[in-house]
Amino acid sequence: MKKIYLYIGLGILLGGSSCSEKDLLDTVPSTSISDANAFGSATRILGLVNGAYDAVKGASLYGGRYLLYCDVRGEEFINVTANSYTAYESWNNSYNSGSNDINNLWSQAYTAINNANIIIAGLAGSTGVIPDTLNAQYTAEAKYIRALCYFSLVTVYATPYNADQGASKGLPLRLQAETDDSNNDLARSTVAEVYAQILADLDAAEANLPDSYSSDLLNTTRAHKSTAIALKTRVYLTMSNWTKVVEEAAKIVPQTTAPFSTTSYGVKHALQSDITTLFGTTYTTTESIFSMPMTSTDSYSGQSAIGYIYNANSEYYLNPSGILGSAQWGSSDKRRSLLRVASNLYYLKKYAKASPYVDYIPVIRYSEVLLNYAEAAAQTGNLALAANLLKAVHARSDAGYTFADGDVATAAALVSTIAVERRIELLGEGFRSGDLLRNLQTIPAKGSSSLQANAVEPSASNYIFPAPNNELTTNKLY
């Protein structure tokens, strides 16, 4: 009898143990996967590649706000809200290491870089899951992403290359996947070293990227050969390496007279007859070499959406003494229809869709490549080609406009005219401050009766963005 009690007792007590410790404690989430399984299938690997592009599309980066920062630093826009959540500090160049813009942009770009590094590391050998050719292609896409992000960072956080041929301290050059708490400390490489890495990555990308993809959408939102080449024209232009700009541009702009279009590769990049179709109608034409896709389920809203800031909430209007008043920007110019007027103030409406803000954000357009090429051609003495390229871009929107001879007669005049054309053509696409900085020009003063932003000399400390606190406090070697 007593023994029975004991057995019953022990039975109940131990009954609990029948649930295995392992089953209970080794829980795994059902809505995310562990690092061990991330490269487990072809779909997941493709998902990782798209994930790296999506990091590039972060709100602080090419989701739109990077363009905003780079534009409003220049002289084209006047801020009305003095709201630090909508790039006011970029506008009046008053940011410090603690500013949101400074920290968020840095983090987002390096997140994309780490995502790319994770792919590069994960695909370093054959996976057994995807063919080696696809392996090489994905690695090339990751390198393209890494190059784009480093270029986006080095042009705003580091002394311009042209100031000292890249001798200044640049960025911590992270080239390996980071997934644990080691390696917090990493010294900065020089600007020249960062540029060298960017170009090495782009050359490698060009070698292994496909000529084209299966759809216009993929051709616009994922990198193919021409994408890497187009970006190289921008990088070399920033380094004032005109010969290389010409060399790269010629690959995708083989003609010397209009019409210009890519012939050697799968995607026939060319200017569209009406620039306004690119903004709001057809986001995936051959003119859009690389853009950030937006859908109603994957887009930004409120202060994360530049369409909200520029247009819906009217927080910036065009500076009457900026490019708006340029004689080169005629009243019949089609590009003026990308502006709207309210109370005599002009607002940008390149991103005009109301909530949800599904306008694609352009990163590289064919017209930029033509202007890059034009500038390099002018600098290298090929004035005819330079003029042809310039006119192709201008005439597309204002066919009736004729450049005065003085505007195109000399290399210097051409360079200056092309610079103006860039301001018109690429307004609101994130080029203005980059163009000022690569030419070591002063950021002009601007303002309204209520808000003023002072001029910033190239020698001033706020000519470039300060390093963010979230790097300074953790990276002792910075």
Binding site: I12, T27, P29, D35, D54, D180, T474
Partner: protein, 1052 residues
């Protein structure tokens, strides 16, 4: 066996009757309230003759010759022996909840207070039963030493801020583990909305609670091992007692009003001070003679009858709230079966318009002795609770929302009407409050329209049940097993109308429903041993406990309503997207043991050990070992003591000491240790990306706690004093260790065990029966806790942890080595410059700089006092502005009884801390916001000494609106009259044969007054709720209400 006992009993009765006997009768009543106690066992001393009292407490017993006294015993009361004199013997039983024989519920068992050697406090259920609260935890303020409970705001059903012996973690919760009838339950706020809170503890009907035991030191809590670093609240629900069925009906009704609202400017004052600010800005901008710059922007509006529009927004945001609560229970039982059944209905209103709480609940507990060796017990409770509130800006992460009711109440312009003349809402083109004749743009909503056009609710459906059994084994062993389940479904609904005036207007109206299921089960089994051998008493316990939490949440967000007719998600909308999806599970496995030994009721030893596994921790460190030892010595039991003179005064002296090591692994993320990839979209393409960098070595936070105490009883146990010193060293604090941003790790952080801190202090509890006479008694109890918190190490480089209030621009707190957790943080100020009325700040170099929101062209807003340009104050200039954690706190409760009247007075107090009165910044805001009447003290003339700077329109810095400033830091010391209750017990003769055995009516007031130098609404306010790193911030939150209650308790 049973037959033999019965036979013997019958025999003795017969023998008794045969001898000379007499009849004695009397009545047994409870000592504390004179109510009759049915079912008391009355026995002739030394004989086997016994009877029980009837429902009115009466008994009659035949007493044999030679018996000189009667023994009275009843569960929960001290046994007493009363000499027989005459034929009537009345007895008063004192409840055992006093003195060393008081029962203390400890983890997986009970001990008497004499045996107990740790640190714990017991709070009777009677204290929470009649309180006008939503959840029992709100009613515990000031009731136990070492336990600090504060209401963060006046919105119904907010989780209170509970700290048992201080803040015990930085990243993890400092909320104690709450165990209800053996099962640890979910705590905190489970609402998904920042508008309406939902404290799942409100699912427990406070009237169902028999007792709340608070375990404070490691020796007591370590049986709960890893779960117990912040202390444990053990809730025991009521169960039936042997005796005739007892029916109790309790009801109360109350009214609540807002208390201590700031006095605001009326329309005339508003226009006067705003226009003064506008004019000052014009002058300071060098535009005094510039006619194109306005001199005034605020102008009156008149009603149809010609009177000035003068809106008091308080009338539309606050109200007198009425609440009612009803509870009925039936309990009883016989020798083998006891039962308890109760039902509750509660319908409460908050003093902010639209704030409601409703609960319906049923509970059933049963105990049954199947055989002499086998008992089973079961219980279950089902309830629904409903919470509704507009956004008040009072909950964490809502401080700066433009829809926050508390800010709207103070900031909305009083010189514009709520409605237009045609009865429509007064609105601007974007749906904010129309500004009438004022020439400024308003970003704040018309509170009336906003409230009418939106709703936020969260509703629980919950079943909690348990079943268990006890088997008595030979050799003094006993086996216990309990399975408990807790299934909680919550639906959170938000609706914002598509009409102008709603905050959902810009998206065409929206509705969000999120449904969450929290499924939680626990199976605990123990084998215990309990034996006395001569003077040796040994108990031992061996146990096993598994608990699993599964949480699933899913929902949808719909926008663009097809018609403004729709007021819920079920209506028709153009776009629908997933919202609030999550799925996770977490498990704990624990093995534990406890051995207690006492010798001769003098020397006590307890040792316990627990090994815990926690699924959320790293693969390499899921298990942790915890335990504690404690010892007690009842000095007064020693022979030598009894010869000391002092023993005539001091009846009982007990010394106790304990040491233990407990853990904390309550990471909020169930998969916190793992490296994870999550899926998203790139346009329309599926993506995977690194979403969390894990740490396979993530381990328990551990605290080593030392506890030294003394319990003393004086003057025949009339005064009891408990004093305890404690030291709690917490190591391996789990912190989000910052990673270099260039590594691209998600959130630039990985959870790691770094950092340490301590809590040291002492607590004192005194309970006294000051006066105890037939018709009058006075019982008082006082407790005091002194505590010192200090952080001794943090993550790499000991860098500060900055705490933010809602937005990253409001860096309001800092956790810094050498200071207490979450100290106040912000820009340091040094008054107002009497020369020019500018706010003076102290920069990081210690230099004085002054600020003017408007300056002429070419001048700088920031200057040194000599006028030269200075750098603007930024986050790098911030100082630590004071400790935010109270250094001392406690309570004083007095209970008086005069004849049938009883009076309870409960006072709470706390202090030694500083509070950021951020609301003051709003009350002085120089935008279009209304101000409080104190704004009249602003600087106006050279030489004037004041703390309110010169009014300059759009100045957001001088008064602390842009970032926290030290001018708004105030001492938080206070003393609150928490509650006063006056009750009257209706004499039982009134009831006649109605069947009513007792009735009491009472009236009470809560939060009747607050004695404090703090000028904000309430020094206990916490805009960040229970957060460890951001305490002591009051900003744009509603304070606590003042409540008057009348109630009745009836027994049948």
């Amino acid at each position: 066996m049973k037959q033999i006992v019965s036979a013997l009993l019958l025999l003795s009765l017969y023998l008794g009757a045969a001898a000379q006997s007499r009849r004695v009768s009397g009545k047994v009543t409870a000592g504390d309230n004179d109510s009759p106690i049915p079912g008391v066992s009355v026995k002739a001393t030394g004989k086997a003759i016994g009877v029980q009292t009837d429902a009115q407490g009466h008994f009659t017993i035949e007493v044999p010759e030679g018996v000189t006294s009667l023994e009275f015993t009843y569960i929960g009361y001290q046994k007493i022996t009363v000499p027989i004199s005459g034929n009537t013997v009345n007895a008063k039983l004192e409840s055992t909840t006093s003195g060393l024989n008081e029962v203390v519920v400890v983890g997986y068992g009970t001990q008497t207070k004499r045996e107990f050697t740790g640190a714990a406090a017991r709070i009777s259920g009677a204290i929470v039963k009649d309180a006008p609260v939503q959840s029992f935890d709100q009613a515990l303020a000031g009731r136990a030493a070492g336990v600090s409970i504060a209401s963060p705001n006046g919105v119904l059903n907010n989780p209170p801020v509970i700290r048992i012996r201080g803040v015990n973690s930085i990243s993890l919760s400092s909320y104690p583990l709450v165990v209800i009838d053996g099962i640890p339950v979910n705590t905190g706020n489970i609402s998904t909305s920042t508008s309406v809170p939902n404290n799942p503890l409100s699912d427990i009907d406070p009237a169902d609670i028999e007792s709340i035991d608070v375990l404070k030191d490691a020796a007591s809590t370590s049986i709960y091992g890893s779960r117990a670093a912040a202390g444990v609240l053990l809730i025991t629900t009521r169960r039936g007692k042997e005796g005739k069925a007892k029916v109790v009906y309790d009801a109360w009704g109350s009214l609540t009003k807002a208390a201590r609202l700031p006095k605001l400017l009326d329309a005339t004052g508003y226009m006067k001070y705003k226009n003064e600010a506008v004019y000052n800005a014009k002058v300071l901008g060098g535009n005094e003679n510039n006619s194109s710059v306005a001199s005034a922007l605020f102008f009156p509006e008149y009603n149809a009858d010609g009177s000035l529009v003068n809106t008091n927004w308080y009338d539309y945001i606050y109200r007198t709230a009425y609440s009612q609560n009803h509870n009925i229970s039936v309990s009883g039982g016989n020798k083998t079966t006891n039962y308890y059944l109760s039902a509750n209905y509660s319908n409460q209103q908050g003093f902010v318009v639209d704030n409601e709480f409703k609960r319906k609940s049923l509970r059933f507990n049963v105990d049954h002795e199947v055989t002499k060796w086998f008992k089973i017990r079961a219980g279950g409770a089902y309830n629904t609770t409903f919470n509704q509130s507009q956004n008040t800006g009072s909950l964490p992460n809502s401080t700066f929302l433009l829809i926050g009711a508390a800010r709207l109440a103070t900031a909305l312009a009083p010189n514009v009407p709520v409605y237009n003349a045609d009865g429509s809402y007064n609105l601007s083109a974007t749906g904010t409050l129309g500004m009438g004749n004022n020439l400024v743009t308003n970003t704040l909503w018309n509170a009336k329209a906003l409230f009418d056009l939106s709703s936020y609710t969260t509703e629980n459906d919950r079943f909690q049940g348990n079943v268990g059994g006890t088997i008595k084994l030979p050799y003094h062993f006993e086996l216990n097993t309990t399975y408990a389940m807790d299934r909680l479904r919550t639906e959170n609904d938000t609706w914002l109308s598509s009409q102008l005036g709603s905050s959902g207007y810009s998206v065409g109206g929206s509705a969000t429903n999120v449904s969450a299921l929290r499924n939680n089960w626990d199976w605990a089994s123990t084998l215990s041993f309990n034996n006395k051998y001569r003077k040796h008493h040994v108990t031992a316990l061996l146990g096993y406990d598994i608990q699993k939490f599964e949480t699933t949440s899913w929902g949808a967000y719909a926008t663009v309503a097809a018609d403004n007719f729709f007021t819920n998600y079920e209506g028709s909308y153009s776009t629908v997207a997933a919202s609030g999806n999550s799925k996770s599970q977490k498990a704990f496995i624990s093995y534990f043991s406890r051995i207690t030994y006492d010798f001769s009721n003098k020397y006590f030893l307890t040792a316990n050990f627990r090994r815990d596994g926690n699924s959320a921790l790293g693969a390499n460190s899921k298990f942790g070992n915890f335990g504690g030892v404690s010892a007690g010595w009842v000095v007064s039991e020693e022979g030598f003591y009894k010869h000391l003179n002092i023993s005539h005064i001091v009846d009982n002296v007990k010394l106790r000491a304990s040491w233990g090591r407990v853990g904390n692994g309550n990471v909020t993320n169930d998969y916190a240790s793992q490296s994870l990839y999550s899926a998203s979209l790139y346009g329309s393409a599926a993506t995977w990306y690194l979403s969390q960098a894990g740490n396979p070595n993530l381990a328990w936070e551990t605290s080593k706690q030392t506890n030294l105490g003394m319990d003393v009883a004086l003057l025949n146990n009339r005064i009891q004093v408990e004093g305890t010193w404690f030291n709690n060293d917490v190591n391996g604090l789990i912190l989000s260790a910052p990673q270099s941003a260039s590594k691209g790790i998600p959130d630039n952080a990985i959870l790691m065990n770094v950092g340490s801190m301590y809590n040291r202090g002492w607590e004192l509890g005194v309970t006294a029966s000051v006066i105890r006479k037939e018709n009058f008694s006075w019982d008082a109890s006082f407790n005091y806790t002194h505590i010192n918190n200090k952080v001794t190490a943090l993550a790499a480089g000991n860098s500060d942890i900055i705490g933010y209030t809602h937005t990253s621009s409001e860096a309001s707190n800092v956790t810094r080595v050498g200071y207490s957790v979450g100290s106040l943080y912000g820009a340091k100020t040094d008054g107002v410059n009497p020369e020019n009325g500018r706010r003076i700040f102290i920069n990081k170099a210690g230099e004085k700089v002054q600020y003017s929101a408007t300056v002429g062209s070419g001048e700088s807003n920031w200057t040194y006092l000599n006028g030269t340009t200075a750098s603007a104050i930024s986050a790098s200039d911030y100082y630590l502005l004071g400790n935010a954690l109270p250094k001392w706190y406690g309570g004083l409760s007095n209970n008086f009884r005069y004849k049938n009247f009883d009076l309870g007075v409960n006072i709470t107090y706390a202090g030694g801390n500083y509070v950021m009165n951020g609301t003051k910044a709003t009350l002085r805001d120089q935008r279009f916001y209304n101000n409080y009447t104190d704004i009249s003290k602003r600087w106006t003339t050279v030489g004037q000494v004041t703390d309110i700077p010169r009014l300059v329109y759009n100045d957001q810095i001088s008064n602390g609106s842009s970032y926290p400033i030290s001018a708004n830091v105030e001492k938080g010391d206070f003393l609150r009259l928490q509650s006063v209750t006056l009750g009257y017990r209706v004499p039982s003769k009134v009831f006649g044969t109605s069947g009513i055995t007792s009735a009491r009516v009472y009236a009470s007031g809560n939060n009747l007054f607050l004695l404090t130098g703090y000028t904000g609404t309430d020094p206990e306010s916490s805009s960040n709720g229970n957060s460890n790193t951001t305490p002591g911030i009051e900003k744009n939150a509603v304070g606590q209400g003042r409540t008057f209650t009348v109630g009745i308790n009836v027994g049948f």
